[in-house]
Symmetry: C2
Subunit: 233 residues, 2 copies
DNA sequence: TCTGATAATATGTGCAGACATATTACCAGA
DNA sequence: TCTGGTAATATGTCTGCACATATTATCAGA
C-alpha cells in the first residue's frame, strides 16, 4: 500500500483521489506535506506537487502556502462547457446547417446595454439578427450588437453569409467575457422566428465579450424549444 | 521585444497571449518549438512548457507531440461554472436560507430513469421532493431519487432538516456526473411550489451522479422564474 | 507505386536542488 | 494584554538535465 510504486504524477493523483474517496483523508482534514508524500510515494516533490496542484484546480483540494493542503469541505465541482459553436453542434448531429441574416442596421444600443458593455463615447454599433437552422428547422435565433469601433472589419463583413459568431471567433479574439443562462417565455417575435407557440419556454444565453476593456459584441441567443445544453462533470 | 525578460511562466504565458492576440501568431499557425522559445525568452524549457500547457488547457493552443504547437483555429472557450450549492448562493445574496422537505417515500424510479442511472437489479431508491427558499420566497424546487443501496446512510438521514444536495456532497463523494440545462414551462405542481403562474418559463437542471459505476442520485431542479446562471469566460 | 521498418523530432514528464513567497507561530517589548 | 517584528514552514516555481513517447518523415525493398 505504502510502497514506492507511484512514480508518475497521474498515479500519485489517482492514489490521492482514492484516499479522499475512501475517507482515509476526510473532508476538511489536512493531508501530509509534499515532502512527506514524496518520500512515501518514492518520487520527487515536484511530482507530488503536480498531482496536488491538479487536484486543487479540480476543486478537490485546497492549498495555501505554509498552511498546507486540506481536502475541500465542499468540493466545488466545475462543469466546463464549451461555448456552443452552432454550426459544429448541428453538423455533429448529422444535420445540415443553414444561416440566414434577417436584420442588419447601424444604431445605438439601449442605455442599459451600453453600460454593461462599458462602451465609450463615440463607439459605433451595428445590430444583427439572424437564425441558424438544422435541416431547415430553426435552431437558434440571435439578436446581436457588434462594436464597429473595436472591430472595424465587421462593417465590410456584414454577416450576410457567415454567422457573426463564427467570423468574430477567428477575427476578433476576446480576452474576457460574461455569460448567463436563463429561461424565458417566447415573445411574439421569438416565437415567429423559432416557429413555435408564443409563451413556450426558451433556453436563452446572454453573452458579452471584451478585448481587454474594449467591448466586442453582446449577443442574446434563443434556442429552439426542447434544447438541452449538456456536459459531464 | 525579444530580450530575455520573461523569467516566469506567467510572464511567458502573457507574452504568448499577446502575440496570439496581436496576430503575430495567427490562428492555425505553428509557433516556434519550446526549445527556441526558451532561448528567446531566456528561461528554461520547462518554464515555456508550463506556460504553453496552460494555454493549451485554456483552449488557445493545440499541441501534439512531434507535430508541434499551433494557435487554435476555433478557440473552444470553456466556461467553468461551479455547480450551485443553493444555500451558499442564497447566503451570498445576503438573504436568509430556508429548506423544507415536502415528500419522502421509497419507491422505484420509472424505467427510463433506471436505465439512465445504470441501476442494478436490487437497488433500492427513495424519492425526495423539497423546496429551498430565499427570504421565505421559493428559490428552487427539486425532485430527487437517491440510491439507498449505494448510499445506505441516506435512509437514516431522511433529509428532513438538511438538503440532500448538501448532505450528499460531504457524505457520498461522486466520481462522475452528467448535467443538463434547459428551459421548461412550469407544470401545475411546479408552479404551485414556486408560487408562479403555470406555464412560466423555468430554468431547469438535470443532474445524475455516480461513484464509479454505482449511481448515487438523480435530481431535477426547477429554479424560480427569472433565475440566471452566470459565469465569466 | 505501395508498404513497412527506421530515424528524426517536438512535446511530455521525471528528478534533484535551489530560491521565492505567503502565512503562521512565536516572542520580546511596550 | 496587546502589538509588531522575526523565525519557521509549506507551497510555488525555476533550472538543467535526462529519458519517454507519440508522431511524422524518410527510405529501402517488394
Amino acid at each position: 500500500m505504502t510502497a514506492g510504486e507511484f512514480k508518475n504524477w497521474q498515479a500519485v493523483q489517482e492514489e490521492v483521489r482514492r484516499r479522499i474517496h475512501a475517507r482515509i483523508w476526510a473532508p476538511g482534514e489536512m493531508i501530509p506535506n509534499e515532502q512527506d508524500l514524496a518520500e512515501e510515494f518514492g518520487c520527487a516533490r515536484a511530482t507530488v506537487n503536480r498531482a496536488l496542484r491538479n487536484l486543487s484546480e479540480a476543486g478537490l483540494l485546497e492549498r495555501r502556502r505554509k498552511a498546507g493542503t486540506r481536502v475541500a469541505l465542499h468540493p466545488v465541482r466545475k462543469a466546463t462547457l464549451s461555448i456552443p459553436m452552432i454550426r459544429k453542434e448541428i453538423e455533429d448531429l448529422g444535420q445540415s446547417y443553414g444561416y440566414e441574416r434577417l436584420f442588419y442596421r447601424r444604431g445605438t444600443p439601449p442605455e442599459a446595454l451600453l453600460r454593461q458593455l462599458k462602451a465609450r463615447e463615440n463607439d459605433q454599433f451595428v445590430r444583427v439578427k439572424s437564425v441558424q437552422t438544422a435541416d431547415g428547422a430553426p435552431f437558434v435565433f440571435e439578436d446581436r450588437w457588434v462594436n464597429l469601433t473595436t472591430v472595424p472589419g465587421a462593417a465590410e463583413q456584414g454577416f450576410a453569409e457567415t454567422s457573426a459568431n463564427e467570423w468574430l471567433l477567428t477575427h476578433a479574439p476576446y480576452t474576457e467575457g460574461d455569460i448567463a443562462f436563463f429561461a424565458g417565455n417566447a415573445s411574439e417575435e421569438v416565437a415567429g422566428m423559432l416557429r413555435c407557440e408564443a409563451g413556450a419556454a426558451i433556453f436563452v444565453i446572454d453573452r458579452v465579450t471584451w478585448d481587454n476593456d474594449r467591448s466586442i459584441t453582446s449577443v442574446r441567443q434563443y434556442f429552439r424549444p426542447g434544447y438541452r445544453m449538456q456536459t459531464s462533470i
